[in-house]
């Protein structure tokens, strides 16, 4: 050090270099300190919450010992060997464990939807309706290839009519001036249903068909086709679609006959198998074919076997596990006046339904806006400045406090349109508005990251702007768009203030059965528990709620990361 400095002092800029080196050190240490401080604080808080929710120390020490030797130790040893000797296997290990877990959770979400919201016949009708609509659009394209505007109408109207038909209308509403509260006009109109939807037509025909058959047709078949295409594309010879489809449908169908023996309803098996078993199978097929990191597949197997063995041992020796607040009962029951019986099921369902509303609202609008702003909007002149102003304001909107959005939702949807307060759709729309700017900005980012050389190549081939956007820009930007959207949805699911403003219930006994039902969401329920008198609520149940929320978030973010990694590698 001293030598360096004395050697340097001969030169003109030597004095400065010493000082700036010290400054650099200080800066380095300060930033490191700040990072470590942040991490430690968050970790401490999480450890605290997890401790409260799970209460690991209430378990028999031997219980810990059993699981440590059957599960944790083998897992650690395996991971250590992977990452020292065979790194691809490490990745395979994580993915082949993560995919079924994420799939199971997503499948459970679907199961909940089919318990609370839909019947298999509804869904079947919806899918058949969409297929019909696609056929109509295709037919129009073949018969009148040059009618672009007409096609736009067909593209919008065909799915709409197929799904909703022209339902009976019954409007009775008085519109009054917001300032003087005098009545302006009263509408009282009723029209009969003019056109049944595809679902309405099919429903009477389907009563005799068991639900799981409909689900195999309307869930497994499309998913398996998608996977089949992917497998075929990956193999590079375009074959294998039929094998994958037949194999998956066969597996799921046979499974539904066996599932009741294990206490699982056939419908639920179909959903879980489609979301967890199929993707895992497709992933493993890829691993085996690539022959890289095949050893990683051992990881989930060892983990599963360890769990089974551990459970058998603890049962055999009567070792008590931790008396956690969080567990199966907590996830499947409503809240209660006694902390021991309290659960989070209705708000969990509420959050999921709200998420459905948010996705259908935010994804098309957000991605559409991003594409318009990046690809179509004028960049120069007066209109360019207007666009610039809009972009700046989208940035500002992303920073507006959520409680203000709550107020907006209340004014717009409850007082304005006249929807009931505290129903799922109002919550979804309000929180959707809240994350819309975030989705737009992240989607813009993804679209901007598409190299210009690809656009130039496409235009140079005589592609139109739309063809370039559709065939080159969107496919390339999609992983980024999805990642950004999922992260924004993660933010949406944790929002509390807007829910307070639009009057979401603190707790409900029954899960909402539709988008126009009153609901509570997880953060709203957690907030309610925080003001209970009983400390068991404030510490135990609340912590369990927080952990549930965090786990959902973790899964969503994990999915985002999986998507990102997958597509990064394929480039």
């Amino acid at each position: 050090m001293a030598q360096e400095q004395s050697a340097g002092s001969g030169q003109g800029f030597a004095g400065d270099s010493g000082v700036s080196r010290i400054r650099g050190r200080v800066f380095e240490w300060l930033t490191l300190g700040a990072t470590v401080f942040g991490l430690v604080m968050v970790t401490a808080l999480l450890a605290y919450v997890f401790n409260d929710a799970i209460r690991p120390f209430s378990a028999d020490p031997l219980w810990h010992l059993v699981y440590a030797t059957t599960v944790v130790l083998p897992a650690l040893v395996l991971l250590a060997t992977y990452y020292t000797s065979d790194e691809p296997a490490g990745e395979v290990a994580i993915a082949s464990t993560g995919i079924p877990i994420v799939g199971l959770v997503a499948g459970s979400g679907l199961v909940v939807l089919f318990i609370e919201l839909l019947t298999p016949a509804d869904w079947f009708g919806l899918v058949v309706g969409l297929v019909c609509a696609a056929a109509v659009v295709r037919l129009h394209q073949l018969t009148r290839p040059n009618a672009a505007v007409e096609r736009l109408f067909v593209i919008v109207l065909a799915p709409l009519l197929a799904i909703t038909g022209i339902p009976a209308m019954n409007i009775q509403r008085t519109f009054s001036s917001p300032l003087t509260t005098t009545e302006i006009v009263t509408i009282d109109a009723a029209t009969p249903s003019l056109l049944p939807s595809v679902g309405d037509v099919l429903r009477p025909l389907l009563t005799a068909v068991p639900g799981w058959v409909l689900l195999v047709a309307a869930v497994t078949l499309p998913v398996a086709t998608l996977f089949g295409r992917q497998v075929a594309a990956r193999r590079g010879d375009g074959r294998g679609v039929r094998e994958v489809v037949v194999g998956s449908v066969g597996l799921v169908a046979v499974g539904s006959l066996v599932a009741p023996l294990f206490g699982l309803a056939p419908q639920h098996w179909v959903l879980l198998a489609t979301t967890a078993v199929l993707p895992t199978g497709v992933y493993l097929e890829g691993v085996v074919r690539r022959r890289t990191g095949v050893l990683g597949v051992a990881f989930p197997i060892v983990l599963g076997a360890g769990l089974v063995l551990g459970t058998a041992l603890t049962n055999a020796f009567g070792l008590a596990g931790p008396s956690s607040w969080i567990g199966w009962d907590f996830l499947t029951s409503p809240t209660s006046i006694t902390p021991e019986d309290a659960g989070i099921y209705p708000p969990l369902v509420g959050s999921v339904l709200m998420l459905v509303v948010i996705i259908t609202l935010v994804f098309p609008i957000g991605v559409g806006a991003a594409i318009y702003l990046e690809e179509y909007a004028p960049k120069t002149g007066a209109r360019g400045r207007l666009v610039e102003l809009i972009e700046i304001n989208i940035g500002n909107l992303a920073g507006v406090p959520s409680v203000v959005y709550g107020l907006l939702g209340l004014g717009l949807f409850v007082k304005g349109i006249g929807l009931d307060s505290g129903i799922v759709i109002v919550g979804g729309l309000t929180v959707g508005l809240l994350i819309l700017p975030i989705v737009i900005i992240s989607a813009q980012e993804a679209v901007r990251a598409v190299p210009d050389s690809l656009r130039r190549a496409s235009y140079g081939m005589g592609a139109t702007k739309w063809q370039t956007t559709r065939n080159v820009v969107l496919p390339r930007a999609l992983p980024g768009i999805l990642t950004g959207t999922i992260l924004a949805l993660g933010r949406a699911i944790g929002e509390t203030a807007p829910l307070l403003m639009i009057g979401a219930a603190a707790s409900v006994r029954l899960a909402p059965n539709g988008f126009f039902d009153k609901f509570s969401a997880m953060p709203r329920q957690i907030f309610a528990w925080s003001s209970e008198f009983d400390p068991d609520f404030r510490f135990g149940v609340l912590a369990a709620g927080v952990v549930t929320l965090l786990l959902v978030l973790l899964l969503m973010n994990g999915t985002a990361i999986l998507i990102r990694n997958r597509y990064q590698r394929s480039d």
Binding site: A233, T380, R456, S458, G462, A463, D571
Partner: protein, 327 residues
């Protein structure tokens, strides 16, 4: 209507023979243009060898196999296919091209050389209106293709670019399969008859078929740089354009890949009009029939037969540039 402005009447091979008389449909106009074209040329540089050269080339290309554009006769092959008149290009306030007038000959390789920043790429982009994609760019003047000024308001640049293809400096294949890359142009034009056959033909013409046969479903990104550039060329010729513009297509490649691209360009010139920008003087001398020399400031200083430009340039500045004293 506008769309059809540059849509070839004989786009599909079946129509080729019937299109024979109509495809060009402007023999009269081309003939009428002849004097003006000559005037343009002589104003830029004297081209004493024009006559003899015309005789040569009609002998060396006795029967062109051009399927699409129909009436490709020996007499026509010396015709100008596209010409610029008093072309100025501005980026904002900066002027990148000054008063360029030039006539590009049909089914020849025309090389554009000049020092860096002199506006070669800008000039090339004028021919298929790729400058439209640059917000700050403004083009003044005329570029005439088949008797129409392509900068007229009623000309659809999309239709134009289907007739005038482009290969860029950096290979830029789409992150799709090899097949999808080559089929891209045909698919965007909804022209998917005999798709497999036409993709194969394009790959063969681009001298890539032997290397990728059987791997057409592989990602184009897995190819080497030189293969990617030939793929981009195949992609451009798959839609059977009239003119292929190439902006330093070999500058990112090693010598072997470069020589393959050069062979390819010479092959292509039998059926297509090729305009190529290059930094490499030897390359220009090797592969081109005509050479245009731009010098700093976006001026076209000299344009004529390659042999003459390299052996006996009119202008001292061009001589200095070619012999390496300047630029």
């Amino acid at each position: 209507m506008v769309e059809n402005d540059f849509d070839r009447p004989g786009a599909s091979p079946e129509n080729a023979s019937t299109a024979h008389s109509t495809a060009r449909g402007l023999d009269a106009e081309t003939a009428a243009e002849q004097p003006t074209a000559a005037a343009v040329e002589s104003s830029v540089a004297e081209t004493p060898t024009t006559e003899s050269n015309a005789g040569d080339s009609s002998a060396s290309h006795p029967s062109s196999e051009r399927q699409s554009a129909g009436g490709s006769t020996a007499a026509e092959s010396t015709n100008g296919i596209i010409s610029a008149r008093d072309l100025d290009v501005y980026y904002g306030d900066e002027r990148a091209l000054r008063d360029v007038s030039i006539e590009i000959r049909s089914e020849r390789v025309t090389a554009i050389i000049g020092p860096s920043g002199c506006g070669k790429s800008t000039f090339l982009r004028c021919f298929n209106r790729m400058n439209d994609l640059i917000q700050s760019a403004r083009v003044d003047g005329r570029v005439e293709f088949e008797g129409t000024n392509i900068y007229d308001d009623d000309v659809d640049p999309v239709a134009l670019r289907r007739r005038i293809g482009m290969v860029f400096q950096q290979p830029n294949p789409f992150p799709k399969s090899i097949f999808d890359n080559v089929a891209y142009g045909l698919r965007t034009q909804d022209d998917t008859e005999n798709l497999d056959e036409r993709v194969e033909r394009a790959l063969k013409r681009a001298a890539l078929w032997d290397e990728v046969e059987g791997d057409l479903d592989k990602s184009a990104l897995d190819l080497s740089g030189g293969q990617q550039q030939r793929l981009c060329t195949a992609r451009a010729i798959a839609v059977d354009p009239d003119i292929i513009l190439m902006d330093e297509p070999a500058s990112a490649l090693d010598p072997i890949a470069t020589s393959k691209i050069e062979d390819l360009i010479e092959e292509l010139a039998e059926d297509y009009t090729v305009v190529i920008v290059t930094h490499n003087m030897q390359q220009a001398a090797r592969i081109s029939d005509r050479t245009a020399v731009f010098l700093t400031g976006g001026e076209l200083v000299e344009y004529g037969d390659t042999d003459q430009i390299f052996e006996n340039p009119e202008s001292d500045r061009v001589e200095d540039y070619i012999t390496g004293k300047f630029g």
